[in-house]
Symmetry: C2
C-alpha cells in the first residue's frame, strides 16, 4: 500500500504495516477484541504480539519491539481497550520502548497518543508517528446526497456489537473470492486497523456525518462493490443518528441485517427491547430510499456464537423460512453463506 491514499481529493494517511500487536496487561479476552480482529482479518500483516503482563494471547509469536522491527514490523498497534478507552499508566514504558525500537504507534483508544507527554516526547526524539485512528481527516464535506456510480452494500444491525464488522469483512472476502472488484470500507477503529484506512464515523462532527460516509465510498466503476461496515442501530437511543448519517451517505444498493438471536434488549440499555428483524428491514428501507430508491435487503447475518452446529443450523433455517430471505452466520460459512452472497450480488 502506498503511503497515502486519495479519498476524493483528501489525503488519508495509510497505517504503518506490518504490525506488532500490543496487549497491555489485559487479562479479559473481551478487552482484546481489536487484537483478535487483526489476527483474524489481517493476520498476514501481523508479525507478532507483545505485552506487559497480559494473560490474554492471540497465539502469534511473542516478540520484543526490537525483534519485531527486525522482522519487518513498522507499527505497534494498541490491540486492547479498557472501559473508558484510556492508555494505562503501566503501559507507557513499553510504548516508549516500541518507539525507541523504531516503530510508529497506532491507537484506536479515545485518549490521543500525543496527549500522553512521555509518548509525545519519545516520538519527537525518534521522529516516530503517533496515529490515532479515531481522529477523522480534516475537510470532510457536507453531504450532497448525489447518487454515485458503483455498487454499495451496508451491514446494519438490530443493535451494537453483534457482527456488523465481521459480516462486512466476510462478505468482502467472499466477493473477492468470486472475482468481484471489491473494497471493504471501515467505519470503526478495529475495521480501520484491519483495512489500513477508513473513516471513524462515530468521531465525526454531526453536521458532516453523511458527508463523511460519502467521502468513504467515492464514485467508482459501475461493477465495483464497496462493502461498508455498519455502526450502531437506527433503534439505539444513543447512536441512531450515527447510523442514519451512515445510511444516507453510503446510499447502499443492498443491505444485510445483522442480529444475535438470543439478545432481547439493547446492550447496556435493559429498558430498550431489541427491534425485530422485520422492523429493522422496514425502517432501513424507509429511511435509506431517501438517497437510494433502489435499496433492498439481501438477507440476514446471524451471530450464532455459543450455539452448537445443529442448533445454529436450525436457527438459520427458521429465520430464512420466516423472513423469506437467506440467513447465514458468516463465521460458519457453508451453503447458507453462499446463498447470502448470491443474494447480495444478484
Amino acid at each position: 500500500m502506498s503511503s497515502v491514499t486519495a479519498l476524493r481529493g483528501v489525503q488519508v494517511p495509510t497505517l504503518p504495516q506490518p504490525y506488532l500487536l500490543f496487549l497491555g496487561d489485559t487479562t479479559e479476552p473481551g478487552y482484546a477484541k481489536t487484537a483478535f480482529g487483526l489476527r483474524d482479518w489481517a493476520g498476514e500483516r501481523c508479525v507478532g504480539e507483545w505485552s506487559c503482563g497480559a494473560t490474554v494471547t492471540t497465539g502469534l509469536p511473542f516478540l520484543a519491539p526490537r525483534e519485531a522491527h527486525a522482522r519487518g514490523a513498522r507499527g505497534l498497534v494498541i490491540g486492547v481497550a479498557n472501559v473508558g478507552g484510556a492508555i494505562q499508566e503501566n503501559w507507557i514504558a513499553s510504548l516508549v520502548e516500541a518507539i525507541e525500537a523504531g516503530l510508529d504507534l497506532v491507537s484506536g483508544m479515545h485518549v490521543r497518543l500525543a496527549d500522553v507527554p512521555q509518548l509525545k516526547a519519545a516520538a519527537a526524539r525518534r521522529g516516530a508517528r503517533l496515529i490515532d485512528v479515531r481522529t477523522p481527516p480534516p475537510n470532510i464535506p457536507i453531504a450532497s446526497g448525489r447518487k454515485r456510480s458503483g455498487m454499495r452494500l451496508l451491514t446494519v444491525g438490530t443493535d451494537c456489537a453483534l457482527g456488523k464488522k465481521y459480516t462486512a469483512l466476510a462478505l468482502a472476502r467472499a466477493f473477492a473470492g468470486r472475482g468481484v472488484d471489491v473494497d471493504f470500507r471501515a467505519t470503526g477503529q478495529t475495521g480501520i486497523l484491519i483495512a489500513g484506512r477508513g473513516m471513524p464515523m462515530d468521531a465525526v462532527v454531526s453536521d458532516f456525518e453523511a458527508g463523511a460516509a460519502e467521502m468513504l465510498s467515492p464514485a467508482a466503476d459501475a461493477r465495483h462493490w464497496d462493502v461498508v461496515e455498519g455502526q450502531g442501530s437506527l433503534f439505539h437511543p444513543a447512536y441512531a443518528g450515527v447510523s442514519l448519517g451512515l445510511l444516507h451517505g453510503s446510499q447502499p444498493d443492498v443491505f444485510v441485517v445483522c442480529h444475535e438471536p438470543r439478545r432481547t434488549h439493547v446492550l447496556g440499555s435493559p429498558t430498550f427491547a431489541l427491534p425485530s428483524i422485520e422492523e429493522t428491514i422496514d425502517l432501513t428501507i424507509r429511511l435509506g430510499r431517501r438517497t437510494n430508491p433502489a435499496i433492498r435487503c439481501a438477507g440476514i447475518s446471524l451471530n450464532t456464537a455459543g450455539l452448537d452446529d445443529t442448533a445454529a443450523r436450525e436457527v438459520l433455517a427458521e429465520h430464512a423460512a420466516r423472513l423469506g430471505l437467506p440467513a447465514a452466520d458468516p463465521m460458519r460459512g457453508g451453503a447458507e453463506f453462499a446463498r447470502l452472497v448470491d443474494a447480495c450480488l444478484a
Copy 2:
C-alpha cells in the same frame, strides 16, 4: 443571569450581556439574520449596533464600542454571516477596537475567534474572552435514553431554514404569557445568542449527539416545559442524523411541524422533493416513540412570509382542515396561534 449555569453537573458559561451587535460591512440583509434575530427576541439585552461600512441596519442606535460599554454593553456579537462563515480581514481592526473598549467578543461563525492572531493577541492583552458559541462544552455524556421528568416540546421541520427557531421562541413566549414555567432550549448559534446559553447540536461529535440533547434539557419539575429548537430534518440528505439524535435525546412529549407552503424541494438540493407534512408527522412519531412512547403532534407552524394576510389565512385554514390539527404562523399570531398553543399544552 449568573456567570455559569449548571447543566446536569457540567458548567456551561453564559454569555456576556448586554450586547453590542456588529454588522461588519454587510450590504445583504439575508446575511444579517443573526442580528435581526437578536433584535427581535433579545432586544432588551441589545444596547445598539455597530459596523464598518454596513448598509444593513437593525434600527438600534449606532454606537462605537467605548460608548456602548459606557451604556452597559459587555459583549460584542458578530451578528452577520457570509458564505463560509469566515471573519473578514476588514472587520479585524473594528473587532480589536471593541476588545480595547472592554468588550468580550461572541461569535457564531465557523472560524474560531482565537484562530485570528490579532484577536488572540488583543484579548490576551486586555483579558477579554473570545467566545465561540459553535464550540460544544466538554464532557458531553453518551445518551442513556432514560425518561426524564418534566414536559418537552420539539419543533421539527420538513426542511432546514423555514422557522423552527422562531416557532420555538414564539411558543416559549406564549407559554410564559400563560403563566407556564418554561425554558427555550437553543440548539443553533442564533438561538444560543438569544438565550444566552444552549447546545450547538450540529457541532457535536456524532457519538454524543443524543447525549448532548439529553444534557440540554435536564430533568425538571413535572409541570415545567422545555421548548427545544429543532435542527435540520429527518428527510435531509446531509443533516438527518443531527435531527434524529436531537429527537431521541429530547424525547419530546409534543412536537410541532414547521413548513413553508411554497417550498417544493430541499433548500440547496433541488433533486430532493420536500416530504409532505403527513409523512413528517408519521416518521417523527415512528422514530420519536423509541425514547418517548407518548409523543404526539400538536399542530403545524407555517411560514407564510411573502403572502398577504388574506392569502395566509386561507393557507392556514386549508392546512388545518386537511390535517385535522391547528395550523398557525407564529409571526402572525391571532386565533390560529392561540389554538396551536392550546393544543401544545392540552
